[in-house]
Symmetry: C2
Subunit: 352 residues, 2 copies
């Protein structure tokens, strides 16, 4: 080792899902939306004058913050924006999780949580989901340095009822509780309605899934104004200008079109429900998903085998070779046509 | 204080320069380029299909990394990209400055360095510039936990000769030395030619100044492949997808047009030299700037007064009410026409 390596922070980085790029592929591996962003996004992009790109963007991302606040009936000072919800969550770990006590999150969950904890040297403890992949609320009633979980959970797709979330909050008034709602728009109930009641609650959402904007990197957090101020202070201490001009313009257009948003989510939910029936008929089982993916296991064919077989057909799904979930596939809900092709192949492959 | 506030990281954030937005203003306060980005940027923006925005961008930012590497005759694995050079520098502080010994930087310098050190709880020590605002290389020969300085320095505009940088490197083989070259393209000599010789040297640059892309947030670091790997590991542990699709496309277009880049820089340098003469004739003094700004002090009129007077005319410059520099104005070099208006006003105001 070179002597200059002594003081370097060495980490095992998060491995993002692969991003294959083949013309005929069916890409069901990173929970992207199969439908394009709202039509207004095209217009917003066209209207950007290249000359303005020489100027710094608004560091407060004021227009975007305002559009999000309006959409959810909040005040601007209750909204924080970042470069995707990963950026928002990373800033939140850095800002809020500074206790000696462990931060709590589920054992099967978004695989970035332990990566951030390791990066920032935050102690943490994983609480096992029950045998149906459900969060046991009682696990989160003890002493801790903060709590985070996705709702619905990933990669399971399971929703925790809002009443359970409220019970967790009632037992945790002294720490920050973060509900990571990346997939909430596909049929689950948001904890946003609780932020005025619990000032230590932060709700994080993203434009990457339900708003078809994974390529533009927009995430946001909602909470009481004091929490948002602390988050902004850290953000301004890290990088003042995170949201570029095209992101700000297209982001506003994406959130303003409520009708398109609802229509797109409804289509995905309908296709998901159709796919569930077909998968069940083929011998798959899965927890009831309230997201844009299905976490499925087959009664006889191992997930790893299916993963490889689908891949050969250029149908990409996600497989996690991890304890407890290494016989499951996480299948993103694509268009109805894509899911019909998937089912058609599975029927053939499983000889049903 | 609420009990949940106990474990929150509380920081004094960096205050970005104000971003006024008035139709008739002359904006010389945040060192933006007065000329638009390369013509190819407009084309790149037009060619983005909105439909692709639903997909995650390439997490490796491969095309942009490759374009930068090609431009500087480097290998792709010697280049790291981030959301502006602030993002690159923040990641570098987090990755490389983990010693118990203090990181060293000048007392008068980019005002974000101490903010990052405070944010990440990194010990640091400021070394005073000499009376001519020059870095004294000997100050950096002692034991330390890492070194960072801008070259040319900001907000002074003073260049440190490459031979001095090399001497600093020779005295510091055991720590990471970062040369922050945000302004290097306006006539200074880059330390890039030293990265193959010193594997602990990281050179950071930006698209925000010389490439007219402040609004798109692109910065980059060059160094040996091992340094870049450590930086990428931390970046992937923080946020895998930092560079959005429009940034990647426009960034490639911006760096590929070498002729436009050289022409723009030459125009700014010519205007800077003209402005220096005019300012000197008006009784201003300033260190010799190799940047796109001039750090000037008037023989009789206090900087704070001039700042206010210019502001009333909607001419915005930067004023730092800090020890040693509170009688200076940092004046960005705008177009020739803008600088003529500035000089015209100063002549009138100073009754010359």
């Amino acid at each position: 080792m070179n002597t200059w390596e002594a003081n370097i922070r060495k980490v095992v980085p998060y491995t993002p899902g692969e991003q294959p790029n083949e013309p005929d592929m069916i890409k069901l591996n990173t929970n992207e939306n199969p439908y394009p962003p709202a039509p207004g996004v095209t217009k917003a992009l066209k209207e950007i004058h290249t000359d303005t790109l020489r100027l710094y963007p608004d560091p407060t991302a004021g227009d975007l913050v305002h559009a999000i606040a309006q959409n959810y009936g909040l005040k601007d000072e209750q909204v924080f924006v970042g470069v995707g919800s990963d950026d928002v969550l990373a800033m939140s770990f850095l800002t809020f999780f500074n206790s000696e006590k462990p931060v709590l999150f589920p054992d099967i969950t978004y695989s970035f949580y332990d990566v951030w904890a390791d990066l920032f040297r935050i102690p943490y403890e994983c609480k096992a989901l029950d045998e149906n992949f459900c969060i046991r609320k009682e696990d989160y009633f003890g002493e801790n340095g903060g709590i985070i979980f996705p709702n619905p959970n990933a990669p399971t797709g399971v929703e925790l009822p809002l009443s359970d979330i409220e019970e967790i909050l009632q037992h945790n008034q002294d720490v920050i509780v973060i509900v990571d709602e990346a997939y909430v728009d596909f049929g689950a109930r948001s904890a946003l309605e609780l932020i005025d009641k619990y000032e230590n609650l932060l709700v994080v959402q993203t434009f990457s899934k339900s708003r078809s904007m994974a390529g533009m990197r927009i995430g946001f957090a909602c909470g009481n104004a004091q929490l948002i101020k602390y988050l902004n202070d850290v953000k301004y201490s890290f990088n003042s200008y995170t949201m570029d001009r095209t992101t700000l313009a297209t982001g506003v257009a994406a959130i303003e079109d409520q009708a398109y948003f609802q229509e797109t989510c409804a289509k995905i939910i309908a296709t998901r429900e159709w796919t569930k029936k077909e998968l069940a008929a083929l011998g798959f089982s899965f927890p009831d998903s309230k997201t844009n993916f299905i976490f499925a296991s087959h009664e006889s064919c191992p997930a790893s085998e299916l993963f490889g077989a689908l891949r050969q057909e250029h149908i990409y799904v996600r497989y996690f070779p991890k304890p407890r979930i290494d016989n499951h596939l996480r299948i993103t809900v694509g268009t109805q046509e894509e899911m019909e092709k998937l089912i058609e192949f599975l029927k053939k492959y499983l000889k049903k």
